[in-house]
């Protein structure tokens, strides 16, 4: 039995259009040959892509953001995995309180966390700006890793680990040779989330950055306010394409690892 809702199809098409609209507009604007973001366009040109890709103001912030995202993942992934494993496999006092603590950055507004850290770091006199950003990112990302890894560990067959222990492997060896390989899909998902979220983070950067450090979202943010130009559309289009590509890649990898 199938019921059809023609009205729903029309409404949903409009909503899809609404979802796509801002991205389409940016991509179209990026090919505008003129100096300003005005409509209608006078033609087609790749000059803004050339300007963005052959140096310019976005290169350095881009690398800063990449470095920050990778450094965050390198720290947050193992820490979050350890926390999730402890919560999933052991019973101890304050377990639910600790789990709440490690997930709470998801509930506390980033804005408040940003001010709190700014006040705290200035109080302590910490002026290493990359370190400030990195520490904040680690705390923001750990909840996502913990949540994903908790789900991953809970789906695993415990008997396999027990078998490994019975066969004489130490708990540490079992963890690295049995548990982690089995949790690979969750690990990949966590790493992906961590890289993307940390690459995108703006609010923390606005609060905690200092002279000499610009992340890509910050540069784009301030250019939207003060320097609206087609090269901004070009760099945004590159990020849109990159995000969609990485998203598709992530989906493909997850589907493959789910099959095997």
């Amino acid at each position: 039995m199938r019921r059809r809702f023609p009205l729903l199809t029309i409404v949903n098409t409009l909503i899809y259009l609404f979802i796509m609209a801002p991205l389409l507009v940016i991509v179209i604007s990026s090919f505008n040959p003129g100096e300003y973001l005005v409509f209608p366009f006078q033609g087609f040109s790749l000059r803004w892509y050339e300007a963005v890709l052959t140096g310019g103001r976005y290169t350095e912030p881009f690398w800063t953001s990449i470095k920050l995202a990778i450094a965050t993942t390198v720290v947050a992934l193992p820490l979050g995995t350890m926390i999730a494993y402890a919560i999933q496999r052991f019973d101890f006092r304050f377990k639910s309180a600790l789990q709440g603590l490690f997930l709470s950055p998801l509930v506390i507004p980033t804005l408040l966390f940003g001010i709190g850290l700014l006040i705290f770091f200035s109080y302590l006199g910490v002026r290493m700006f990359f370190l400030r950003l990195l520490l904040a990112h680690i705390v923001l990302i750990i909840p996502y890793v913990v949540r994903t890894m908790l789900a991953g560990f809970s789906q695993m067959e415990r008997a396999v680990e027990e078998a490994s222990i019975i066969l004489g492997a130490s708990p540490v060896k079992t963890f690295f040779l049995v548990t982690l390989p089995l949790a690979r899909p969750a690990l990949l998902a966590s790493a992906f989330l961590s890289l993307v979220l940390s690459f995108d983070e703006l609010v923390i950067a606005l609060f905690l950055t200092g002279p000499g450090i610009h992340t890509l979202p910050m540069t784009i943010y301030s250019d939207i306010q003060f320097n609206l130009s087609p090269s901004l559309a070009a760099v945004s289009s590159i990020i849109i394409a990159g995000t969609i590509l990485i998203g598709l890649l992530g989906i493909a990898v997850m589907r493959r690892s789910q099959k095997t």
């Binding site: 904040a136 708990p171 995108d200 939207i224």
Partner: protein, 285 residues
């Protein structure tokens, strides 16, 4: 030596250390600072007083800002609920082949950062933006509409940012519904609309509650959209907290506003939960 420490403490210790140092202490400091005194010169002084809170609640300017923030949060949640329900329902009812693709079509563009998507809305909503140019070209309007730097523009862009949260929550509920109930209603002669209104909608109530609560709480403290689309003209709590922190350096006042924002969030969500879900005994879903 290491053997005597339980293994879970070894696993938890590094994370716990970072969380205590970089999360608990700074937020504690924020809370403490909100009770500080500030004198006219801007210097702050340690004291356990409610100066900052009194200043907020006795100034109509700030009370109005709080009200505006709540109002926009409610509007965005409701619009997201309607749009998100249409999408989630449509996807959950399509054949399985298309379903994944439809879901991706929603998720992938929405994965792009909020900053970039708001940039797109600026191009669309401006006085000489695409929307105004098109509407004027067709002849529907004579004068360009003011959308950018207005609450309406902020709501449109916020709905775009918050929609995926709503769709994800609603989709997981709608996808898990027992279809045989709908079939039963159909066999008993109910029309499609009746089935939707009396069976599907009540069954998805938990999703509706969870989705709107999630969207409301994120929206209330969301900074990017009010700052880019609202600018200086639409003053909201989030942008003013940033302004007090970065430009005016009035950290005690910014802290107090932050605490008020958080308390408002808790108050509104618990009221809403009570009104919508509270009539049933605890534990029944």
């Amino acid at each position: 030596m290491l053997k005597r420490i339980p293994p879970y403490w070894i696993l938890l210790a590094p994370g716990l250390l970072i969380f205590l140092l970089v999360f608990v202490l700074p937020l504690g400091r924020l809370l403490v600072l909100s009770f500080y005194k500030t004198d006219p010169s801007g210097a702050m002084e340690a004291a356990a007083v409610l100066d900052q809170y009194t200043r907020f609640f006795t100034d109509p300017f700030y009370l109005q800002m709080l009200w505006r923030s709540v109002y926009i949060g409610v509007a965005v949640s409701l619009i997201c609920l309607v749009l998100g329900y249409c999408l989630a329902y449509g996807v959950s009812r399509s054949q399985s082949k298309h379903r994944f693709m439809l879901l991706m079509l929603i998720a992938l563009p929405l994965l792009t950062s909020a900053v970039i998507r708001n940039f797109g809305w600026i191009i669309i909503l401006g006085r000489k933006g695409i929307l105004n140019q098109t509407l004027q070209g067709i002849g529907i309007i004579q004068e360009p509409l003011d959308l950018l730097y207005t609450p309406t523009g902020v709501i449109i862009a916020l709905v775009h940012v918050m929609l995926p949260y709503m769709v994800l929550v609603l989709y997981s509920v709608l996808d898990g519904l027992d279809r045989t109930l709908e079939s039963a209603a159909a066999n008993l002669g109910a029309s499609s609309w009746k089935i939707f209104w009396f069976v599907t909608l009540p069954l998805s109530k938990q999703g509706i509650i969870a989705g709107t609560l999630l969207v409301f709480s994120i929206t209330l403290s969301f900074f990017v959209t009010p700052s880019l689309i609202g600018g200086a003209k639409v003053k909201l709590m989030a942008t003013e907290i940033y302004n007090q922190t970065i430009n005016l350096l009035n950290w005690p006042y910014a802290s107090a506003m932050g605490v008020i924002l958080l308390l408002t969030m808790l108050l509104v969500t618990s009221l809403y939960r009570r009104v919508l879900a509270g009539r049933k005994p605890e534990g029944v879903h």
